[in-house]
């Protein structure tokens, strides 16, 4: 399970980035305002991006916990599958919201980068979410197999 450990390390790095982002927003908000001016907080997309980022952060934390459980107690464990499943659901949720937001932006031509975002980041996040849920499903099936195996022994 070397891949699992690499994936866990990546999720830890992403978690650290998410925590740093949240800390920066919570404790250095005033400094940010002074530096960039008041205008950027009045922009709707700032708080929208932060909310989506927050949902994604919770998803990353959940997947990290799931992978940690998989390393500690083996992959076929209920907790690992549940945490990974929750992470996948959160990724799908945020990607669907982003897709709707970017679709509206494309229709109203309000953001020139919306179409590129829609076809790349949003789509990739959706694939990542569904892939994560698929992995959780496979783990769940493995749990049943392992229980069968243990009972037979």
């Amino acid at each position: 399970m070397k891949i699992l450990k690499i994936l866990f390390a990546i999720s830890i790095l992403t978690s650290i980035y998410c925590i740093a982002d949240l800390i920066f927003l919570a404790f250095f908000f005033e400094e940010m305002k002074t530096l960039l001016g008041n205008g950027f907080t009045s922009d709707d997309s700032f708080w929208f991006d932060r909310s989506i980022g927050f949902v994604n952060s919770i998803g990353v934390f959940s997947i990290t916990l799931g992978l940690w459980n998989a390393i500690k107690t083996g992959p076929y464990e209920k907790k690992a599958s549940t945490f990974i499943y929750i992470g996948g659901i959160l990724f799908i949720l945020s990607s669907l919201i982003l897709i709707c937001y970017d679709l509206i932006s494309v229709i109203h031509l309000s953001n020139p980068y919306s179409f590129a975002n829609l076809m790349t980041t949003d789509f990739m996040l959706l694939v990542l979410g569904i892939g994560t849920i698929f992995t959780a499903d496979v783990l769940k099936k493995g749990i049943v197999l392992k229980q069968d195996n243990d009972l037979t022994i």
Binding site: I3, L7, I130, F134, V138, G142, N149
Partner: protein
């Protein structure tokens, strides 16, 4: 396994999108409708096309693995192998294009390249995810073999 079918549908959609993209670029390259110098103006065109083609092959492998999983159940040898090859290809392309985008980025105010870097990182994560799933399937095969032998 409804999610599996949705994921399989996605891979089919991506494969069709890639085929259209590759066909369009090739058509425009050999047609005069946009001028003979149009594709040659970007020296990286064929490099990007090569990366796209490898991603296309990777997605094809993942799609085949998912199709096998739908047909014969998750713990089957060929599906794990296909996912592993697909994941490897996505990971390699993620690393190559990350290096390429990092070298061509004009930091710190290059938003387009920053978005591409995020996309490359996501591609690498998808590759690692596919490899992890292939690993899980592999250990599941051993479990199922043990189970079948005990019965």
């Amino acid at each position: 396994m409804r999610n599996l079918k949705i994921l399989f549908g996605f891979t089919i959609f991506v494969i069709i999108a890639f085929m259209i993209q590759i066909a369009t670029i090739t058509y425009y390259y050999f047609s005069d409708s946009v001028g003979p110098n149009y594709p040659d103006s970007d020296p990286k065109l064929w490099f990007v096309q090569f990366l796209m083609s490898v991603i296309f092959i990777g997605v094809c492998f993942i799609s085949k693995g998912l199709h096998n999983t739908i047909q014969k159940g998750p713990f089957e040898k060929t599906s794990g192998l296909n996912l592993k090859i697909g994941g490897m290809l996505l990971l390699i392309i993620g690393v190559i294009s990350f290096g390429n985008d990092l070298l061509s980025a004009k930091l710190p105010h290059d938003e387009t390249n920053m978005a591409l870097l995020v996309l490359d990182i996501m591609l690498m994560i998808v590759g690692f995810g596919a490899l992890f799933t292939a690993d899980v399937l592999k250990s599941g095969i051993i479990l199922q073999q043990e189970n079948d032998l005990t019965i």
